[in-house]
Symmetry: C2
Subunit: 324 residues, 2 copies
DNA sequence: TTGTAGGCGTTATCAT
DNA sequence: ATGATAACGCCTACAA
């Protein structure tokens, strides 16, 4: 690998001059510039980002912590995030926490080691300690670590409300809510919205908590079996909804005639599944875009006018609910 | 951020000594060691990996190029890869090529800039030029860039054979193959195996090529409509298979009674879909593990006994095919 | 407009 | 067993 010295030698100038043309900084004669550019071309010189980062104390790397990747929601979000970071000339180091705190702690160390410029956390962390005094800009998605640390998330409260309104207004009386893990702030907001709206119709619901990563089919079947009177089911992910529909089918219930089902996320498969899933759509594109843009601002030490941002959700009606 | 100098000062020793205890290298008195360790603890010192990398000319970063992430196959693979890299104390920089050559070329530059130690390419590259004289260890998944560049992939040929045998042996006569993009080596191997095995039964098939990322529903419906006599369909991905089943349902065909369908990949959703998908399972775990282990060997300049590795596939029979 | 030189944080060689 | 010091490749005062 050619270094800046090699280029300088070849172009018969000093390294400072080369550095100036690379960075387009300071005065440099057009002729010498051409000379340098030619040398760079010939030597196929690529500046060493490590040396640069060492000097500047920033790496143009953004660390992303995800709980896991094998869920469409996170995979899609990750793709969007990567696309935006590239626009700002950043690159992402992906760390998969597997919902494991020890791993997460390890990653924070790694991020420090690499002088990572900023962190995007999609993890379901409840701990804040390690991040608090880290001195690296952070933005969280789907979770509020503290009032100080900026966040973006869907309007989960409204998501719950929309689902409740749909179920209630189409005549459901015995309603179930198959939730994600209840400690999660997103899950709590959805539950709250769902119940508030249900209450307006004089309705309540029975709940059951599941894992997001791989919701247990047995638990779902069990819960469905124990509530044979159910006529409306709200699920905290499309994956859970798909499982639910399978269980319902197993019990010879028809969807949406006997039971209506609403999912959450609007993953790509929601419209391929059969029956096509009615679901609360999260606007991943806006979320990802906002996360990156905000983090970049944070890195540039721009003041944020608003620390916490909510992105609208929408009810997408397909084949697992009835028309009003 | 505390540096090695700060630690040295606090422990009243030289930076050389601190470096020795950090790296567990060379002689150092137990007492001074404790002194240094205490200073590190107090200062919350974390070694700067950038400076380290600059000196050592290796970054402990592995670059991963994926065509896109919103396909279960790649997402799962990525997760597995990340898990293994961590075991070897490497971290991954993920680059999403979006099947765009310009982007890929840019990434290669980025990889050079960061002194990336090795590259895993899952991309559908046909070009080899940029990688050839890169002087960074590379391993490709699902694609053979050249005889020299090591690769891992599923035994796609056998995958095709297994599918053909299943369809033929259960009496299918009018067979379709909904493939991925035909330039891909994986697609070619599957086609070859499929046709070879079909030929043994005196059978042939009609083919149609689709994108992997988001196979066009309209094209699929069209092809299905044009071949109403079809009684067996082999699809190059589970996603395509799911679409096919939807189209079949739309045409009032029942699966597997009228038409049998076989997918490829065995993504998690294959067993959640309804009907549950019969599919050719790729062993992502073994592929990911092998890729990382091989790359680590390559980085350590270990001679490989075998440059190209194939991983077995298996037919998973579920509800979209009939029993033999 | 260009060059010199010091420093970013680390490791490794050579003395001591 | 420990300490100076040069180097890794780059950037930026400062000097010329």
């Amino acid at each position: 690998m050619a270094t800046i010295k090699d280029v300088a030698k070849k172009a018969h100038v000093s390294v400072a001059t080369v550095s100036r043309v690379i960075n387009n900084k300071g005065y440099v004669n057009d002729e010498t510039k051409t000379l340098v550019l030619n040398a760079i071309e010939e030597l196929q010189y690529v500046p060493n980002e490590l040396a640069r980062s060492l000097f500047k104390k920033q790496s143009r790397i953004i660390g992303v912590i995800v709980p896991h990747m094998t869920s469409y929601y996170f995979a899609e979000l990750l793709e969007i995030i990567e696309n935006y970071t590239i626009e700002y000339d950043y690159h992402i180091m992906v760390c998969n926490s597997q919902d494991d705190e020890a791993r997460e702690t390890k990653f924070i160390r790694v991020f420090q080691q690499y002088s990572i410029d900023g962190i995007i956390i999609i993890a379901n962390t409840t701990r804040i300690g390690d991040y608090q005094n880290l001195n690296i800009p952070i933005i969280t998605i789907d979770h509020k670590l503290s009032d100080q640390i900026p966040s973006v998330s869907s309007n989960n409260l409204n998501g719950g409300k929309l689902a409740a309104e749909k179920l209630a207004s189409t005549g459901c009386k015995n309603i179930l809510h198959l939730r994600g893990p209840s400690p999660l702030i997103t899950v709590q907001a959805r539950s709250k919205g769902f119940e508030q709206q249900l209450a307006k119709h004089g309705l309540a619901c029975r709940r059951f908590d599941l894992e997001f990563k791989s919701p247990s089919k047995d638990y779902i079947q069990n819960f469905i079996d124990k509530n044979p009177d159910a006529d409306g089911i709200f699920c905290d992910s499309d994956l859970i909804a798909m499982h639910v529909i399978q269980c319902l089918k197993h019990n010879n219930k028809s969807v949406p005639e006997d039971v209506q089902v609403i999912g959450f996320d609007n993953i790509e498969l929601a419209s391929i599944f059969s029956p096509k899933l009615t679901t609360i759509a999260q606007d991943k594109h806006t979320i990802g875009k906002y996360a990156v843009e905000t983090l970049v601002k944070l890195i540039a030490k721009t003041e944020l006018t608003q620390k916490h941002h909510q992105v609208d959700v929408a009810l997408i009606e397909r084949e697992t609910t009835r028309a009003n």
